[in-house]
């Protein structure tokens, strides 16, 4: 590890800790303050924090890796990730905030008036969080392995990266709560965006032409490294050799449809992202926040796609440099996730790589922070405060939430330590993005249908909701397990559906909710809940109070 690498990571760690301590001094040990930052997060700060939450290792390292490995087929990861916020804006953001809950399970429990719904949602939420945490931990391990190359206390470099990120983020969340995590996430997203803009500026200042780079990358058949061998990527559409600029390198028709549906549906069911909407001041603010997110995330992904394309060309041109030769076979990267890190070094030597690595850690840390906080809220508030000890004091859910952070982060780290990335890379060329897709599949199958129907169909009942959540989760988990155990081909056909199952599992979940609700003699939504969820009284009151405060301040 060079002194510069150490410095960049140390500076990043010190800033994150300072922000958390500062937030801790402003946080009271109450549910609304610890889990919701007092519901006073501004639109742009919240948009930055949502982007920080959402743009994980899968986005920062994974999108560039997917584009590097699969050309235009890899671009669909970025498109799907960005597209996921459009349904959130259209159907979810404002009503979700207006009901005024603490977590996604809490929202569903209030909407359906049932603790059974709460419990079913907590199970689904914890599954999603765990499956989302593992790829972040894998990303930490891979980044540490490349950047530092050495382990601590007898651990391998990969294991050290996992342990360091797990300990650091658990500390940040336990100390800072939602306020500290929000500030950290907003700052970290600003850093991520600045880094991709900086890399793009370095490229352009060196005379880079995006269209010519795509032309150059598409001139020869697309190649990949499997083991130590270089192989030509097969075109899944017509069977010939795939090229960078044309579809077919990664997906057949079913594979592409399954991926898109999974990513588009998954976002509205991601607990760590949806929980952020409860921190907005009003429903209108939640909606405005989502518009900002679509703009910011779109800008980030468009640049990440360009950087992945540029890396394809630059690595091939400069593969004979000794440091790069160790990472490549015949000018092709062994691990596509290294694409952005390598680009940083190609453009700005070792400092460039150190800065990109710090940004990669920021991406992982901010997402892990959001996930741990969501796990903390669903356990502390939904399980302890609402089900196990409803009469407990206000500090009890916070203490339980902090304990949940430790348990969940430890579980994710253990799973990540067992995963052997080198074994999986042959089947999944951009591993982190692929693993995150599994979390999207779970969220989109188990939670999105019940959220959408709960908000917009007043006749949906609690029994219907429980049946829908469990059916969606069971089908998605079952499909993923069958797909992984049988080594299904993720690119097309039945294998693609098994490994991105929301295409089938979400309709099954939705249909289950409708059928069971129709057969259920129980009541649908109450007038009070419907009015609060779709009314604007609270928004108007917030705006009125804000106007009064402004007048009083003059």
């Amino acid at each position: 590890m060079s002194g510069l690498d150490t410095t960049s990571l140390a500076v990043f760690g010190v800033i994150a800790t300072l922000v958390s301590v500062l937030a801790w001094r402003h946080t009271r040990a109450t549910t609304v303050d610890f889990f919701l930052a007092g519901r006073r997060v501004g639109v742009v700060t919240n948009a930055g924090a949502i982007c920080g939450d959402y743009l994980s290792a899968a986005s920062f390292l994974g999108v560039a890796a997917a584009v590097y490995a699969s050309g235009v087929d890899g671009v669909w990861y970025a498109t799907g990730f960005a597209a996921g916020f459009v349904p959130v804006l259209l159907f979810v953001a404002a009503p979700l905030r207006r009901l005024g809950s603490v977590s996604l399970p809490d929202f569903l429990a209030v909407r359906f008036g049932s603790d059974r719904v709460r419990l079913a949602a907590v199970i689904a939420v914890e599954l999603v969080i765990l499956s989302y945490l593992v790829p972040q931990a894998v990303g930490s391990g891979l980044t540490w392995e490349l950047l530092v190359g050495e382990g601590i206390a007898g651990l391998s470099p990969y294991a050290t990266g996992i342990v360091v990120s797990t300990v650091a983020v658990s500390g940040i969340v336990i100390i800072g709560g939602m306020r500290g995590t929000t500030w950290n996430q907003a700052l970290q997203f600003g850093f991520l965006l600045a880094v991709v803009i900086w890399l793009a500026a370095l490229l352009w200042s060196g005379g880079f032409s995006y269209p010519l780079a795509v032309e150059q990358a598409s001139a020869a058949p697309l190649q990949a490294v499997v083991g130590d061998e270089i192989v030509e990527v097969v075109d899944r559409l017509d069977g010939g050799a795939a090229t960078f600029g044309e579809p077919g390198a990664r997906y057949g028709p079913v594979g592409q449809l399954a991926l898109l549906v999974t990513l588009v549906l998954g976002t509205a069911g991601l607990p760590h992202v949806m929980n952020r909407y409860f921190t907005a001041a009003s429903g209108a603010a939640a909606r405005a926040t989502t518009v900002w997110v679509i703009g910011l995330a779109g800008s980030f992904y468009a640049l990440a796609v360009m950087l992945g394309s540029a890396t394809r060309v630059l690595v091939a041109e400069r593969a004979d440099e000794p440091w790069l030769a160790a990472l490549t076979v015949d000018g092709v990267l062994r691990v596509p996730e290294h694409a952005l890190l390598v680009l940083g070094r190609l453009l700005a030597n070792t400092p460039g790589m150190a800065i990109v690595a710090a940004a990669a850690f920021a991406a992982m840390v901010s997402t892990i922070g959001g996930l741990l906080l969501a796990a903390s809220a669903s356990f502390g508030h939904d399980v302890v405060a609402r089900i196990l000890r409803p009469g407990g004091g206000p500090r009890e859910p916070v203490r339980a939430g902090r304990a949940a952070v430790l348990v969940v982060s430890l579980a994710a780290a253990l799973v990540a330590l067992v995963v052997e990335p080198s074994q999986l890379l042959a089947t999944f060329p951009s591993l982190i993005a692929t693993m995150v897709t599994w979390a999207f599949a779970l969220a989109g199958s188990a939670l999105t249908p019940v959220v959408l129907l709960g908000i917009w169909w007043p006749d949906a009942t609690a029994r219907g909701a429980v049946a829908g959540v469990l059916a969606g989760a069971a089908v998605a988990v079952g499909a993923l397990l069958v797909g992984l155990v049988t080594g299904a081909d993720p690119s097309d056909g039945i294998g693609a559906i098994l490994l991105a199952p929301a295409l089938v599992a979400a309709p099954i979940s939705g249909l289950t909710i409708v059928v069971v609700s129709r057969l259920d003699p129980g009541p649908g939504v109450t007038v009070a809940v419907w009015t609060r969820m779709h009314g604007t009284a609270h928004d108007r009151q917030t705006e009125r109070l804000a106007r009064m405060t402004l007048r009083g301040g003059r």
């Binding site: 669909w76 916020f85 032309e215 405005a288 518009v291 109450t526 007038v527 009314g535």
Partner: protein, 111 residues
């Protein structure tokens, strides 16, 4: 579902409140609008991969350098489409809320 009764009110804190019948009507309108925009969104996002499989020009033609129409749309055009659609949908949803909800407060104040 117990349908909202016209005239009954859900009092919120301070003096802001919504009439359930107004909220039910506004929610139906918002649902129609959201579904309309969602259809447009689905058309935008799914037409690109369909074109890449059915229309050779979509992937084979070159607009600039090595970029085909399909590449340009996937790598940049769709993000602009999402943002434009989002701004339009948010503006319309907001104006529907302003037009359909909260009017009872003003009427009460005038009385």
């Amino acid at each position: 579902m117990p349908r909202p009764e016209s005239g009954s009110r859900n009092h919120d804190r301070l003096d802001e409140f919504d009439a359930p019948a107004e909220v039910a009507a506004a929610a139906r309108t918002q649902r129609r609008i959201a579904l309309g925009y969602a259809s447009l969104f689905a058309l935008g996002i799914f037409v690109a991969p369909v074109l890449s499989m059915t229309l050779p020009w979509w992937s084979g033609a070159r607009l600039t350098g090595g970029m085909s129409p399909g590449f340009v749309v996937a790598a940049g055009g769709l993000y602009a489409f999402f943002l434009g659609l989002g701004i339009a949908a948010a503006s319309l949803a907001r104006s529907v809320e302003v037009r359909m909800l909260g009017t009872s407060d003003e009427e009460d104040a005038r009385r």
